[in-house]
């Protein structure tokens, strides 16, 4: 009886804590900022342009389906500070990207890091901790 009670209590506690945290929206308003996703695929397009550079990547999922991912970085001027150029990535490249996934469930993300096929790492400029949880508007 006691064991059964403990089991139910522990299960309940686990479910409660696994509930998604009620984080509010930030400047990263459209993105989940508490987890990251890593995918590997083939570059189809790399747009080195304002306001954000955009990468398009074909990723084959566990079911063998090709998923068309889109991912963004900051603008070219900012990314140049991390050594990125318009030639850092090319269509056809096999790369791995780690992103903050977008909240709406689409295969879209904000690039934390890219690893090229030769192992070189390109650092993004993601730091959601630098922005704060919204509170009530100023009274």
């Amino acid at each position: 009886m006691k064991s059964k009670f403990l089991a139910i209590f522990a299960l309940g506690l686990g479910v409660l804590i696994f509930s998604p945290p009620l984080t509010a929206h930030h400047g990263y308003a459209a993105y989940e900022t508490d987890r990251k996703v890593t995918v590997k695929g083939t570059v189809t397009e790399w747009f080195w342009a304002n306001p954000h550079c955009v990468l398009q990547l074909d990723v084959t999922d566990e079911h063998g389906q090709v998923v068309h991912w889109g991912a963004e970085t900051e603008n070219p001027t900012t990314m140049s500070r991390n050594g990125w150029t318009k030639d850092s990535i090319k269509p056809g490249d096999q790369i791995t990207i780690t992103v903050l996934p977008v909240k709406n469930g689409k295969p879209v993300g904000r690039i934390i890091e890219v690893v090229l096929s030769n192992g070189q790492k390109l650092a993004g400029r993601v730091n959601p901790a630098s922005e704060v949880k919204p509170e009530d508007p100023p009274k």
Partner: protein, 291 residues
Amino acid sequence: MLKPLVATAVVLAALSLSPRVHSQADKPRSPASTIPGLDGWGRPIVPVAKDQKSAPAPKHDISGVWDAPNGSGTQVLGAAAAPEDGKPEHKLPYTPAGLEALKLTKPMNGVRSVLPAESNDPVFSCDPQGFPRDDLHELRTTQILQRPDSVVILYTYGKIWRVIWTDGRELPKDPEPRWFGYSVGKWVDDYTLVVETKGMDERTWLDRAGRPHSADLRVEERFHRLDRDHLELTVTIDDPKMYTRPWVALDKFHFELQPPTFDVHEMICSPSEFSQYNKLLGNSISERETH
């Protein structure tokens, strides 16, 4: 039979108590880059040595290519000395009219942020930032040129410039509003240029957080050269219609001198590029959750 169930439940609870991300410090973030930064010509940027003692400042001279290190001038939460982060010490002294005007702005960052497609930030429809927002948002590598009668400042963001007249003229009495206003400056000592600006267009936001201003806004900038390699900028906002007292928006913002051969990136708001971005990604990002 219940023992495995209890064990499973206890493990589940223990896993959930492990430090899955709850604190700001745990959030995923990009690592530091191991590749040197590049200037606009694609040449490596040479970092300014931190402990290097600099030569004395030249007198009456703030000219140079001045870099805002480590993205410090981006100011996505609003003016760096008073960001809209909900902290009491950063709360601005709004008048009732100022608060009403604030409610009309929908910024993409900070405590009042909305989704990109819901923002009415005029800069994202490629309106000019105007002044003083060019100091209070996306303040990047800034080139300062000095002529006998004026100081000309070239800003990276938007590839725009301002002229500060130093020939002793007074500010105009009732000028036609301009995006970047009208500026006059004078040297208050050998190393400090104080600039007064008025006549700014009311359509601009003060900063990325959407702080408002009226046509009565007056801004003071103090450019103070510490030594050969370091310049500080302090910006004070004075707008009695919107704020009950003047407030400091930038407090000794730090610039570092780059070589005169440093090529500045071009950073221009192009409506066609924005449209392309929205089609490629922006619209997908802004769609509401489907799960």
